[in-house]
């Protein structure tokens, strides 16, 4: 129980002091802005041992957030087999999050968004590039960097509309005739993905 208390204490301390403290790896000296009440109670309990280091003191400090909002968003869009966009500076991206289409501008609040099958569009000046994303995640960082990862992302022109219609009909029928939970889930996924592709092609 005492161990838990010391961990909780030091976590809140190092969170506050991590911005001013530079981590020195494997140093046995204490960071200068450590909680003195913690150190004192530690010394009372275990006077011959150094107070413990916490993981935060070994980590590099987080990159500082610029005080003024940058004018451009830096996008890294990666797929398992290719890096689609790497460090590209754009004005805005619209991502298909599970909570709806989310527009990301520079200075967006740090967010982790799960993506659903849908269109992702990258806006650069008057140039808009659209991709259909199968699913994935988007990590928006405080310094206006967006990391978007997807398993499959294709430009809309590469999708075959007749296949989409066929797939939609097939999965709607499977959904109606499914018996086990797993079959229902698979059919439901099929319906969702094909409807999203349909909407993407016609929208």
């Amino acid at each position: 129980m005492l161990r838990q208390a010391s961990r909780l204490l030091s976590r809140s301390v190092t969170a506050a002091s991590s911005k001013s403290v530079t981590a020195r790896a494997f140093s046995t000296e204490l960071p200068s802005t450590v909680d003195s009440t913690f150190v004192e109670s530690w010394k009372k309990v275990a006077p011959n041992m150094d107070p413990p280091q916490t993981p935060s003191s070994f980590m590099k400090p987080r990159p500082s957030t610029a005080s003024s909002i940058p004018t451009k968003l830096t996008v890294n869009f990666v797929l398992p087999y290719a890096s689609e966009l790497s460090g590209k500076e754009v004005d805005m991206v619209i991502i298909p999050a599970t909570t709806g289409q989310m527009g990301v501008l520079p200075g967006h609040v740090p967010t982790i968004a799960e993506l659903k099958p849908g269109i992702m569009s990258v806006h650069e000046g008057t140039d808009i590039k659209k991709y259909f994303v199968s699913s994935g995640f988007a990590f928006l960082h405080a310094n206006s960097v967006a990391d978007i990862i997807a398993v499959e992302a294709v430009p809309l022109e590469n999708i075959d509309a007749s296949q989409v219609q066929k797939g939609l009909a097939e999965f709607t029928q499977k959904l109606a005739s499914a018996s086990t939970d797993l079959e229902k889930a698979e059919a439901q996924i099929g319906v969702e993905v094909h409807s999203a592709m349909n909407a993407a092609l016609s929208g």
Binding site: G136, N158, I159, Q163, G167, K184
Partner: protein, 71 residues
């Protein structure tokens, strides 16, 4: 502690996120136009070598190559 927020339907049915994500990707790949479809079928191939262990020693490995059409 009571269970937390509503789970997605696929997790309620016992599927993991990775399975869900791979199914979505496979469905999208199936709906591509011709040259892209052939290229993408390469990406779907999964090759793995499976060895069962007995008495602390690996038995003969089985090479498995899953065809892309199988869910």
């Amino acid at each position: 502690m009571a269970s937390s927020a509503a789970v997605p339907f696929w997790r309620a049915a016992g599927m993991t996120y990775i399975t869900y994500s791979n199914i979505c990707a496979n469905l999208v790949r199936k709906c591509l136009k011709e040259p892209y479809k052939a290229e993408s079928m390469n990406r779907e191939k999964v090759h793995f070598s499976l060895s069962k262990w007995a008495d602390g020693k690996p038995q003969k490995p089985v090479l498995r190559s899953d065809a892309p059409e199988v869910f």
